[in-house]
């Protein structure tokens, strides 16, 4: 079976503007996009749960438990992604969640670990932009921006174009090339690469301090 193809995406975090709340920064971004001429096209949601290997399965060498992330993406509603930090990514169907319950002995869910990003999708020419608020529990922790360029399949071909487009509406907050882009030239991009980028983003946000709520929403 051939590996699934997807259009290259760049997932990055937009820092919250000074003196503004997360909500206001998201509104700023979406207004910029609408002025650019993008059309709203529904909503999206990406969520992630963390599991760590149960203590009972650790060998006598005392190897550290690995963290496994189980993620869902509304772009692929019938799929479930399971990935390790630097390891392989498994793409399964939604029954995998039920399977995880059965594997309670081997993988235990870390407490309060569910992190998700929700927001709106915008379509501009052949670009698809998704701006979402990253929330952990009840609190908003940051902003995620994902840009996808449809016609392309090989990541290295279109990074420059994506960069320019990001610069137009993110300005100085434009991210650098994602690690997955640089790894393999001429390799076909896949959904697993997108989920790896989201996983990195979520980990980064988890480590950040909570965003101070400044001003009235």
């Amino acid at each position: 079976m051939t590996s699934p193809e997807a259009s290259p995406r760049s997932v990055s975090q937009m820092p919250v503007a000074e003196g503004k709340s997360v909500q206001q920064t998201v509104e700023l971004l979406t207004r910029k996009l609408e002025m650019l001429g993008a059309e709203k096209q529904g909503t999206f949601c990406v969520d992630c749960e963390t599991y760590h290997t149960a203590a009972s399965t650790l060998g006598s060498q005392g190897q550290a438990g690995k963290l496994m992330y189980v993620m869902h993406n509304s772009e692929y509603p019938l799929s479930c992604f399971a990935l390790f930090e630097n390891g392989p990514c498994l793409i399964a169907d939604t029954n995998f969640d039920v399977l995880m319950v059965k594997l309670k002995g081997f993988f235990q869910s870390a407490k309060a670990s569910k992190i998700e990003t929700r927001g709106t999708r915008y379509q501009y020419c052949d670009f698809l932009v998704k701006v979402g608020t990253v929330t952990m529990g009840p609190s908003a922790r940051g902003i995620s921006v994902e840009v996808e360029y449809g016609p392309c399949v090989v990541a290295s071909d279109c990074w420059n174009l994506l960069l320019e487009f990001l610069q137009s509406f993110l300005g100085s907050h434009t991210p650098g090339a994602p690690a997955v882009f640089g790894n393999r030239h001429d390799a076909v991009y896949g959904p697993a690469d997108t989920m790896a980028q989201y996983m990195e983003l979520f980990n980064k946000i988890r480590k950040q301090q909570q965003v101070p709520v400044a001003g009235i929403r």
Binding site: P151, D157, C158, E164
Partner: protein, 312 residues
């Protein structure tokens, strides 16, 4: 009303004619009054008759005068204007139920529109004839009698020959692979895959290229039946633009006598080759402003290729 301006010159005569009619009517009614009243009472019968006849004659003269006046004025007024664009249908404008059935104004609109359409079509055909797109071997202007009776042989080529030409071109470039199939009769359908960038569906008629559609590498080129989908356009604007340029290229390259040269030039044209050697999706190019233009930088490449002169 359209007639107002053309009759405007004679509006005075018109008004005078109307008052002349009124004068005529009153003199005619005076005649009948006089008859009705009969003879006035006078001393002698003769006197009465004379008075009556004189009165009657006066009235008749005035009727005559008014009638002549009316005839003179009606000649001045003249006929209604001949400027009706719709001649008899213009009489529709006299229909008093204007609001419910505005036939006359709608007719005028339709007439003006069709005139404009004819004019524009004439202009367009003049412009289009300058760029002849006929790909047949016959020349224009040669009368039907002197045209060769034999059918052009390039339209009826054995499918094996077409297969050979295509497979030869297939072997020319490593990144380009051509897959030939004949799902609908004898016309060949090529699926050209260019690296991991795009797929082109080329519909041919013997060795002449009829149509092309360019789609992205990840788009589905087959219908639900599993047959090659030759009609649906690409979902991406970049490739829609490339399709337009490819179509321009296939119309540009014309050599009715040597179609295999045409096919080879089409496949080799910078339209495709640039996209593989340096990626279709470009490096940053400074100096342009909008993203539409940058996504469609092939628009810069392809017109250059189309303007190139075909060299056999």
């Amino acid at each position: 009303m359209a007639d107002v301006l053309s009759v405007g010159v004679n509006l005075e005569a018109f008004a005078q004619a109307i008052s002349a009619i009124q004068a005529l009517r009153s003199s005619v009614s005076r005649v009948f009054d006089c008859l009705k009243d009969g003879m006035r009472n006078k001393e002698t019968l003769e006197g009465r008759e004379k008075a009556f006849i004189a009165h009657f004659q006066d009235n008749l003269h005035s009727v005559n005068r008014d009638l002549n006046e009316l005839e003179r004025l009606s000649n001045l007024v003249g006929k209604p204007s001949e400027n009706h664009p719709l001649h008899n249908s213009g009489l529709l404008s006299l229909d008093p139920v204007q609001d419910k059935t505005p036939l006359y104004s709608q007719l005028l609109q339709a007439y003006k529109w069709s005139n404009k359409l004819q004019y524009h079509a004439g202009l367009a055909s003049g412009l289009l004839n300058q760029q002849s797109l006929k790909r047949s071997a016959n020349q224009m202007g040669v009368s039907a009698k002197r045209r060769p009776k034999a059918q052009p042989t390039t339209l009826v080529l054995p499918p094996q020959y077409v297969d050979d030409v295509i497979s030869r071109i297939d072997r020319m470039f490593p990144e380009m692979s051509i897959h030939l199939s004949r799902p609908n009769g004898t016309s060949a359908m090529l699926l050209v895959t260019l690296g991991k960038v795009l797929k082109v569906i080329v519909v041919m008629r013997s060795l002449f290229i009829d149509r092309t559609i360019v789609k992205g590498y990840n788009e589905n080129v087959y219908t639900e039946d599993g047959k090659l989908d030759i009609w649906s356009k690409s979902n991406y604007q970049v490739f829609q633009k490339v399709t337009d340029h490819a179509t321009t290229a296939l119309l540009h390259y014309q050599l009715p006598q040597m179609p295999d040269v045409v096919v080879r030039s089409f496949m080799m044209s910078p339209c495709w080759m640039r996209t593989v050697n340096s990626p279709l999706l470009p490096q940053t190019c400074k100096g342009t402003t909008s993203y539409r233009n940058r996504c469609l930088v092939i628009a810069v490449v392809a017109p250059v290729s189309v303007a190139a002169v075909l060299s056999p």
